[in-house]
């Protein structure tokens, strides 16, 4: 549905593309009505991709029942915001990170790389496909009254339940992955001191997330600190090239 996503009609073209087989059957032998309904559905519309099926089901039902163009247009306008917001919170901010972080935790605890990836793909897609099917069926069953399905409590509860789980897993994964990074260099320094500094930085980043890019970039570039230059020769090389250029320029 998002194949032709663009800044003007967003998933409008994709919605018309998705509904075309059904619209052709509903308006068989009436090219004018088919043209009008395709024009309606390819106008600007947006929804979370996993919940867009709910809109498609409801709109298909409305077309089948011969609802007026004006009520279909009102419905499309009313549904756009909620379908995006609910889907973003449920899938992008909760379900997907929870599945990803669980798989990374499993890898950190010793599960093989391919099994960890399989764990993520299976868990995510079980939920993702179930939501797509549920959305389409509810849309088809309720027609233009599908808006009430978006008030179902589980849509709000799942992100609220998963939020704390995600934060816990994030802390766990950071330590387990750090251990893997330190294993690469056979690090023998004080793990406690490093953990304390990392925890402090994590909390600062949690409080002011928008400035984290700069914090992380500064830390990575600090590898160019004199004793570390050799460990990250790519950065060191760039710095040496810049110094050489500056000397040449002043010369």
């Amino acid at each position: 549905m998002q194949g032709s996503w663009n800044y003007r009609t967003m998933i409008g073209g994709g919605m018309a593309f998705t509904m075309l087989p059904l619209l052709r059957r509903i308006h068989a032998g009436d090219p004018v009505r088919l043209r009008d309904s395709v024009a309606r559905h390819q106008s600007a519309f947006n929804a979370h991709p996993n919940l867009a099926g709910m809109a498609a089901g409801a709109l298909a039902r409305a077309e089948l029942e011969g609802e007026s163009a004006a009520s279909i247009e009102r419905f499309r306008t009313a549904l756009r915001g909620p379908l995006g917001t609910v889907g973003d919170r449920l899938i992008w901010a909760a379900w997907r990170p929870a599945c990803l972080l669980s798989a990374i935790a499993a890898f950190g605890m010793g599960l093989g790389p391919l099994w960890s990836v399989t764990l993520f793909l299976v868990t995510f897609n079980v939920g993702h496909i179930a939501i797509r099917i549920w959305g389409f069926r509810r849309g088809w069953a309720e027609g233009l009254g599908v808006g009430k399905a978006l008030h179902e409590t589980w849509l709000d509860r799942v992100p609220r339940w998963l939020g704390p789980v995600i934060l816990f897993l994030l802390g766990l994964d950071t330590v387990l992955l750090s251990r893997r990074v330190l294993d690469v260099v056979e690090w023998e320094g004080f793990f406690g001191a490093l953990a304390a500094v990392a925890a402090f930085v994590a909390l600062v980043a949690f409080r002011w997330p928008r400035r984290t890019g700069r914090i992380a970039a500064a830390l990575v570039l600090s590898m160019d600190h004199k004793p570390a230059r050799a460990s990250c020769s790519a950065v060191g090389g760039i710095r040496q090239a810049l110094v050489a250029l500056r000397v040449q320029h002043h010369g």
Partner: protein
Amino acid sequence: MPLAEIPLQSTGWLILVLLGGILALDAVSWPQVMVSRPLVSATVGGWLLGDPASGVIVGALLELMSLRHPPYGAARYPDAGPAGLVAGAAYAAAGGASLGALVAAILAGWGVGWIGAFTVQLRRRGNERLMADEAALAARPESLERRHRLALRLDAVRGALLTAGFVAPAVLAAAWSVGQPASAAATAWGAAMLVTALAASAGAGGRTSSRGVRGWPLLLAGAVAGALLVAVVA
């Protein structure tokens, strides 16, 4: 690391390029089963070069760095499929046991991800033109179908070109960094900074799934549990 030891042949390069197209397509266009996440794409990239364990480490690190950038609406976010593939392949090609190669792979992945984000914007503007004549498309629905399918194909080509352009330079950069001399102190410093940068990314990523600042004790509790686990295993 001598060039002859890099396990990237022309067939492998071609498979990576084709996969780059498929992974880019999965991220937004179709079918969004999330094979485009760096955890998956980097592992596949590493696996193709004979070392999935190296790939999954890079993928997991990129994943934590990407949590801060969810794909809400028209937001810009890293194109994680080709980025993970390039990074995973680069680190695996370098043998997977060097901090320099790890940092090079992460920087390559992050760079490709944001260049990919720019190409996604270009594609969206291209789609705008492709779907512009709404009246004509409504009158001839078969041309609407053709243009939608063309948009899908163009997205795959975009991902393939992105991978084709960056996979070999990333592999070479990672392999080159392996042979560079490094003192023990320098390596320890580099690893400590990478861990701290990872913690910063995790902290910021946590806020994306948290509705307020009150979640920080849970973040710490997870870290303590992780430290206990590491201590028990050690």
